[in-house]
Symmetry: C2
Subunit: 460 residues, 2 copies
């Protein structure tokens, strides 16, 4: 990048907020995909005005901008695949600006860490439900850009259900606001609607207004052990059809159970077909107990050999430990994990898991599956024994493609919560028609005619 | 319109689905605004393919298309303000295609009447919450196009919260699908998000996939009588902050109360400052009773002189009668009603209502207000005694503008549930910056470069 650009930004933002040196570029070249691409520099805007001036300048000069949250994304959304300047918010734009108790909203800057907001609103007896697995380090700007999901989606929905309004800067430097602190707002196009999940490719968020709800007073965790995946799925369907909506209904298949047990020795039944972990919450203890009774009824009806309700927080934590250790434990099956966050309509979960078992057999890979049964979101992990065996890796990617094809055939989506980025860009044509892809390109152009904002992502 | 066009459409759709005669054009020239504009003709597509062929032809020839639901809109969205062809769905595309019990979704054609779906899903113990006042005759296609609200928004949200997926036809005839039967889907741009509330100006819906929830087993209605609007609002705030979320919290101000009482003589207290009507629902009777106890506590704390819980469905209906009769009753104050559906952040309701009282004094108009306190959505009605008094009508419109300015100042929106259409198009510049208006125009162009779909609406 030209020296004059560096000088311009240093004058604009101050020396301490502009880095074109190798060390900084390297630090901002990674994300959770473990791929890396060196950006040309890193900028730390102090406020919305800074973002506006940076974008206007870059738009005029044709300089690529990559907005970056915490770099915890699994799809490469924050990677500078073709150079350009990373816009990082963690240094200055990381403040909770307001917690509005009258309207139950929080106003935050994009760099605020999800967990930071969670903790803060708890002080007021309030609750921000979206809880991506990365919540201890991922930023809310990144969460909104990827429309992050999480464990609580069955009952509480996902990030988009909590974005009431936002401020954003267009590539030409113009500042817009979209939405209000109101449930109802139907004036003009739903600009916030199209910006959510746009992976930083349409505008740069400068402020987010997020919906809060009252913190449920009680919650309980329980676990059921099933002879097969199918019986576990049936238990899920029966529970949800009864009108009981747990916060989470998480499942582990046999491979996941064995992996966790082998690694941590916590007493999981290695002969079980599946485990379901449910959490229920509410304001009245008796209702929760009633819900658990209903759940137990359907679990036993589906031949659960065990139904355990956590007596206290420690027991609840122990139960959750099994689920939360899946991702790290399954590495016993191989040194390379091709993990995808596919999602199908809930009723198609048994078909999906059967299909994956067939793909596993066909390719000879172990494919442990775990995830969010309540919302059809399954983390499938194709395990390659030796990551240096190029033949196996190639075969693994073919297996991934089959998993995607199966998912689409079942009415599902390439990504439930991670986004497309670069990881799944080449599969977009499996899921979208030419007309749909062209429409997305036209929308991209409507916001970003010079294509400076996070280009070369999402297959656009 | 040229005769050759009529012939083309008759060949395409059959004689019985194409009308260019005066009588049909007249029938399709109105909507709930009572304004009328003659379209050039009316087409009744039989299916998605018909829509596609019609749009492709019209796009090539530059013929305007106005998609029309039931014509029950309050903002003129379905009016042919500059001629063109009305696309009407009530004849053929009015079917519920599927009720998917496994995934709790309904798949419908755009012409299905809201109430028709409500009744159908009740048979399965399910619930489609969005309930615009027009629900007995408005269509779901129209509801989604305007992002219709209703009485249940406080607890259940609005139309956009129930659109999971849709199929739509672009102006060039291409058919797209957006969204899935899954809570989580983050592949590609949120196309459904931008199509909701787009007032028929971006694409024509051919199929809608709507989220259903379990029908709550019990509900109860109650009414509180307050000395002032302010005390009623405080009671609302305290209730919601306590974690109790009623389905509805509807209010009537003194003018509305008096109008209903004068017309129907049902025993409402004409000296009351405000009345609040609340509905709570749930699956456990005891929880509802507990909620009502909490509500009563805060109502009495705010000096409610009366708190009445309906003992049965008849009493509940009687209570609701007061609220549902407001719109027709307030005509005692004048022969012309300038009614707006402004919405402010809930906490700003007292400021809004105070400001409206001042505007009422300044202009000498009675302005009865009633509406959805729980979500900040107030129906303000500027009453002109004599609709033929041009001077008064002109003054009335100035008063409307002041109401809008006040609303915007308080962080509110021009429209909570009716949309912009032509009714509020001239006020868009009060609410949106040039940058925002330009962005909306660019989005319109991205979908509809020839500007054939419902043009001249929303101030675009």
């Amino acid at each position: 990048m030209k020296v004059e650009f560096e000088q311009y930004f240093k004058q604009l933002l101050g020396e301490e907020n502009v880095y074109f040196d190798e060390a900084h570029r390297r630090v901002y070249s990674y994300d959770a995909t473990k791929k890396h691409y060196l950006p040309d520099g890193v900028l730390f805007p102090r406020d919305e005005e800074d973002i506006s001036k940076i974008l206007k300048f870059c738009n005029d000069k044709g300089i690529i901008i990559i907005p970056r949250g915490a770099g915890s994304g699994f799809s490469g959304g924050a990677l500078a695949v073709n150079g350009g300047l990373v816009l990082a918010f963690e240094k200055h734009m990381n403040k909770i600006l307001e917690i509005d108790l009258g309207n139950l909203v929080a106003v935050v800057q994009p760099g605020v860490i999800n967990m930071h907001l969670q903790k803060e609103v708890t002080k007021y007896g309030l609750f921000y439900p979206p809880d991506p697995a990365s919540m201890e380090h991922s930023s809310l700007g990144g969460n909104v850009s990827e429309n992050a999901g999480g464990m609580r989606a069955t009952k509480y929905g996902i990030t988009k259900d909590y974005v009431m309004a936002l401020r954003a800067v267009l590539p030409n430097g113009e500042i817009i606001s979209a939405g209000k602190r109101t449930i109802k707002d139907v004036a003009g196009y739903n600009l916030a609607g199209i910006l959510i999940a746009s992976e930083g490719s349409l505008a740069v968020f400068s402020e987010l207004t997020l919906k809060l709800i009252a913190l449920p007073k009680f919650k309980k965790t329980a676990m059921g052990v099933f002879p097969s995946v199918k019986s576990a799925m049936n238990a899920v369907f029966k529970t949800l059809a009864s009108g009981v909506t747990p916060v989470s209904m998480e499942f582990l298949d046999n491979l996941s159970i064995c992996a966790v047990e082998n690694k941590f020795n916590i007493g999981l039944p290695k002969d079980a077909g599946a485990i379901l972990i449910v959490e229920v919450d509410g304001n009245i203890q008796e209702v929760i107990d009633e819900d658990l009774k209903t759940i137990k009824h359907y679990f036993l009806e589906e031949n659960a050999s065990e139904f355990k309700i956590a007596k206290d927080e420690k027991e609840a934590k122990d139960i959750w430990f099994a689920r939360k250790s899946c991702s790290q434990s399954i590495t016993v099956y191989g040194s390379l994990k091709l993990n995808e966050d596919i999602t199908v309509p809930r009723s198609k979960l048994p078909d999906l898991l059967e299909g994956i078992a067939e793909i596993s057999k066909k390719y000879g890979f172990k494919i442990p599956c775990f995830g969010h049964t309540g919302d059809g979101n399954v983390h499938t992990n194709i395990m390659i024994e030796d990551k240096n065996d190029q033949e196996q890796v190639k075969k693994g990617h073919l297996a991934v493609e089959e998993v995607f094809k199966l998912t689409i055939k079942l009415g599902g989506t390439l990504s439930g919560e991670h986004g497309i980025g670069i990881s799944k860009a080449s599969f977009m044509n499996l899921a979208f028609s030419d007309a749909e892809m062209n429409l997305m390109r036209n929308i991209k152009k409507a916001f970003d005619p010079n294509n400076i904002l996070n280009p070369f992502k999402m297959g656009l």
